[in-house]
Amino acid sequence: MKLSSSMNLILAAVLAVSTPLMAQTPEERGLEISQEAKQRDLGWGDMQADMLMVLRNKQGQESVREIRLKSLEQENDGDKSLSIFDKPRDVKGTAFLSFSHPVGADDQWLYLPALKRVKRIASRNKSGPFMGSEFAFEDLSSFEIEKYSYKYIQDEACEAGQCFVVEQYPVDKNSGYTRRVVWLDHDEYRISKVEFYDRKNSLLKTLTFQGYQQYLGKYWRADLQQMTNHQNGKSTDLKWTGYKFQSGLNDSDFNKNTLKRSR
């Protein structure tokens, strides 16, 4: 009697714990975690920041890129963004305008100051390196749920404590990856680490996030992102400074006229 009641209790407890897990596939769990991460980062409105890229080759030689970034959140669409290049000097004044979309091609224009020319460019090139760095264009574009399918792998200890480990499979056939493995911390759903697997499914790059700071009491941004390429031995550090949120940018700050006079 006593035994069977405690057995029942255990059984009930096991059922109570396992039923939701049984009902939810790893795919659903992966999606749920990613949706929660996206949900927690909605509503930031507009943002400006300075980006310093330090490119390091195998021999440890460094070169730098300085870029100013402005972005505007869009309802039910990808973000609008404007990137202005300050360094290297020969590309100073070059600016890049992008209207990203969760599904389909992004709209992208490049301004070339030497010719005063605005060029509409193909956004097909997702996997290409950004400014010769170890970041691909797709690594720098905004995260949208529709861009991946998902699979929850496990929980694992990480730098921020406990992390969800979720695999993300790019939907876009032009992606340079078969999958990304993402570590998100339990408390704040901040990305702690990403591993990138190339088209042959071998480990290509690892990206780590450090120095998270919270803005407007809600939005977490890392001060430092470090990308290491395991195949060519190169690395790129991305250092962020001067984050400003909700400074009143609107659609009129993101058109071909603003592109031409950005500097």
Binding site: V64, R89, D90, L115, R120, A122, G128, S133, N255, K256
Partner: protein
């Protein structure tokens, strides 16, 4: 030239500057270039009996930002010294302008450069600025044009209204310069159809818009034709060419469709002068192979066709011409790029070939190597004049 315009602009600036002096942002940057040209042969004409040439150029840029970014001033003087050609030793104010920005409009006043168009081998519809033709044979260097340009941003597109007070004459190689016609162009004695001469006030209006994958622009220009026709003349008993600048009305269209790896490009022009009325076109495609063979290298392939209704009578160089080219971008830390192209004139069976390579060295240097080869298939083709001007050019740019 147009001193009133600039003093007015400068007065406004100085006033706004003194009002909020503590908020003025100033930046000085620029470029120094050293250039070495080697020609395969001596030139065809007297004064061209040399095979190497050196040249230096400086182009500083001074920039002020005031009133929290609502007003900016840019000053970009330019000066080149050339070893041989006194016409190529020249200066220009590429930009001296004031831009005032409001939420859905901006006013741009002063000397500026404006580019319109989408094609690569010819810039048919690019009409606002005069070509600084002594700089390079590709026609991409332009002289600063005085203007007042009001730009309106609307949901249905961007509308640009231009008033262009004053005209800039095209630069031409002098007696000792290469890449010129047999007779030297006498730039001191240009003639004009309009009684206002180089003070004629030109006007233009342009609408441009992006529709999903399509970017289009349409404009109307009324004023002095940037392309002169030539009359024979005599200067100190030496026969010369006198440039004649006529009045014209021009309608231009440019459009690009950006679909996956393809860029489809079209430029159309209709020009009406007192002497003639004609249409011309430049159209083509560009296809890019991204990440060739699992590398970071992009390979672009370009093909264009240039057509002019006037056919062989056209004074334009591209009246029935095919172009093919290739662009290779290494996407490396040094931004190394290669561009090569071949132009073929179907009427005259003439060829021209160009190749360009560039790469960054350190944080401040860019080195370029260019080659140009010209081969006339018919003595009636104007390209026959520069047949012996095949050359390679090494350029070192220092950015500060």
């Amino acid at each position: 030239m147009n001193k009133q315009l600039f003093s007015a602009g400068l007065a406004v600036l100085l006033l706004s500057g003194t009002a909020q002096a503590e908020e003025v942002f100033f930046e000085a940057t620029g470029k120094l270039s050293g250039e070495f040209r080697g020609y395969f042969d001596e030139g065809k004409f007297s004064g061209q009996d040399y095979q190497t040439g050196t040249s230096f150029a400086i182009e500083p840029e001074l920039f002020w930002e005031l009133n929290g970014g609502s007003d900016t001033v840019t000053f970009t003087p330019f000066y080149r010294v050339d070893q041989h050609d006194e016409e190529r030793t020249h200066g220009d104010v590429r930009e001296l302008s004031w831009i005032h920005v409001a939420d859905d409009w901006e006013l741009r006043t002063g000397l500026r450069r404006v580019f319109w168009g989408v094609t690569e081998f010819n810039h048919l519809v690019d009409v606002i600025n005069q070509t600084d033709a002594v700089e390079d044979s590709d026609g991409e260097d332009k002289l600063g044009q005085p203007m007042v340009n009001l730009s309106l941003v609307r949901d249905w597109g961007i509308v640009d209204l231009f008033i262009l007070p004053g005209f800039r004459e095209r630069t031409f190689a002098g007696n000792d310069g290469r890449l010129r016609s047999g007779l030297v162009v006498d730039t001191e004695n240009a003639r004009y159809e309009s009684n206002d001469g180089d003070q004629h006030i030109d006007t233009a209006v342009r609408w441009s818009q992006s529709f999903d994958l399509y970017d289009v622009g349409l404009y109307w220009f009324k004023g002095t034709n940037r392309d002169p026709r030539f009359e024979l003349g005599v200067n100190n008993a030496v026969p010369i060419l006198v440039p004649v600048y006529e009045q014209m009305d021009q309608i231009g269209f440019d459009g690009q469709a950006t679909i996956e790896n393809w860029l489809w490009k079209l430029e159309l022009l209709w020009r009406d002068t007192s002497a003639e009325q004609y249409t011309a076109m430049q159209a083509g495609v560009e296809y890019t192979f991204y990440g060739v063979a699992e590398s970071a290298v992009d390979l672009g392939v370009l093909a264009e066709y240039g057509w002019d209704e006037r056919g062989e009578n056209a004074d334009a160089s591209f009246q029935n011409d095919l172009f093919i080219g290739s662009r290779i971008t290494l996407n490396d830390e040094a931004s190394t790029e290669f561009l090569a192209g071949l132009g073929y004139d179907i009427d005259y069976q003439s060829h021209s070939l160009f190749a360009e390579a560039s790469s960054r060295f350190g944080e401040n240097w860019k080195i370029s190597l260019d080659a140009r080869v010209f081969d006339a298939g018919d003595s009636k083709d104007p390209i026959v004049n520069i047949e012996q001007d095949d050359m390679v050019q090494l350029t070192a740019d220092y950015y500060f």
